[in-house]
Symmetry: C2
Subunit: 242 residues, 2 copies
């Protein structure tokens, strides 16, 4: 259906030489997925290196008990897995389209072989994995060190262009998903939004308006002056490298 977009447009491939890109492009397939379609499931063999072309894909882990946890939400240009190196690797999480989405796939074997032949591709895969590590690291910090409300504020601010103070935008997915992203229930999210009204945050369904990003941020940095101790490691002064 849709023409395969040039691989150059994916951040993953900056730094990869044209010849390799040509070869990869030859193997790439674009797939359209309906909302809710499962792209792959945790535990399955990894058969391809995948990317999001357009739309949103949620990555989730399912525990033995059956409940799903959202790990990450990927959108245009992002990879869907870490690059597979060996033939017997399995997915560590599942991927499901949120709304209609199109993905690009390159067969795992071919991809692995090209990485082995061409270190620039391997380094691209490494850089991508590092970006993921950075993302997850930030997520853990958030979860351990800040309240739901605080996480919501940061989440909202992340949608605002850095140079505008007043800002309005629309959430790219429903509040159920936002709640999962933040690791809270829908109810808590809703109440958090309600409390943020006092700080100049308007909400109308998926539309969000922030009166002053700077003010919002300032007010929450103030709150953070009395941090949750949960993840605090020391009491205030360095234990010193004697």
């Amino acid at each position: 259906m849709s023409e395969s977009p040039p691989l150059r447009e994916f951040p993953f491939f900056v730094g990869v030489d044209d010849a390799t890109l040509q070869r990869l492009a030859g193997e790439a397939k674009v797939e359209a997925h309906a909302a809710g379609a499962v792209l792959f499931r945790q535990g399955e063999r990894i058969t391809a290196m995948g990317f999001v072309v357009r739309g949103f894909v949620k990555l989730t882990r399912t525990a033995a008990s059956g409940d799903e946890t959202l790990i990450s939400l990927r959108t245009d240009g992002a990879s869907l897995t870490e690059a597979p190196v060996r033939a017997d690797e399995t997915h560590h999480y599942s991927a499901e389209a949120v709304g209609p989405a199109t993905a690009l796939k390159i067969p795992a074997g071919r991809f692995a072989r090209l990485m082995a032949d061409n270190s620039s591709l391997a380094l691209a895969a490494l850089a991508d994995a590092k970006r993921t590590v950075a993302e997850l690291t930030g997520e853990i910090e958030s979860l351990k060190a800040s309240s739901a409300e605080h996480r919501l504020v940061r989440f909202l601010i992340s949608f605002c262009p850095p140079e505008e103070d007043h800002c309005r935008f629309r959430l790219p997915y429903d509040k159920r998903l936002v709640a999962a992203r933040l690791g809270v229930t829908q109810e808590t999210l809703s109440r958090s939004f309600a409390r943020l009204r006092a700080y100049g945050v308007r909400t109308e369904a998926r539309g969000i308006g922030i009166e002053s990003v700077a003010r919002l941020r300032a007010q929450f940095e103030e709150k953070a002056r009395e941090p949750r101790a949960s993840a605090r490691l020391v009491d205030s002064d360095a234990p010193g490298s004697s």
Copy 2:
């Protein structure tokens, strides 16, 4: 002081050819650190690829507000950063020795050059980053989907050899750090331990004894039948790909 241990002993380097390993070994330096010594700090330029030779090193993030969050605890054989590719990369977290620790360092520039020349080294770095992603992913799942007590149980079980039901061991670091690892305060950790006594978990300072790992696990799987909804994404049945 201490002789550099053969790089082959580091899981990182399986799959890397001898010649490259030779060259790396020539650049490697072993450093001994006292308890509390800082190996590097978040934001600093990455000057070396580092590994733990012996001991424990905690990786932490410091927020603008000043509070530290534990991201990961690394011990014998683990890497300390993702492999640096470019000269201007900076550390995303700080590293500090917990107790005396020795680390091995290989200059970043050299390491990057060898990765560029030799895809097997780049693939080793990729595999390492993937392990980190898997670790962090599990961490996020834990934090979002299970209670402090549940996390503690899993943590304790992770110290037990798979084949023994009765099991006793000693925590490798103090309970303060265990608490940080689990993302709770010392107090809740202490109370969780107290509650676990009812499930056959003995504690005497750092020593832990578990009467029956199987029973403990079973009792907690049962509890998990009523999961926290916080990170539950759907109510029970798939929303279906229409």
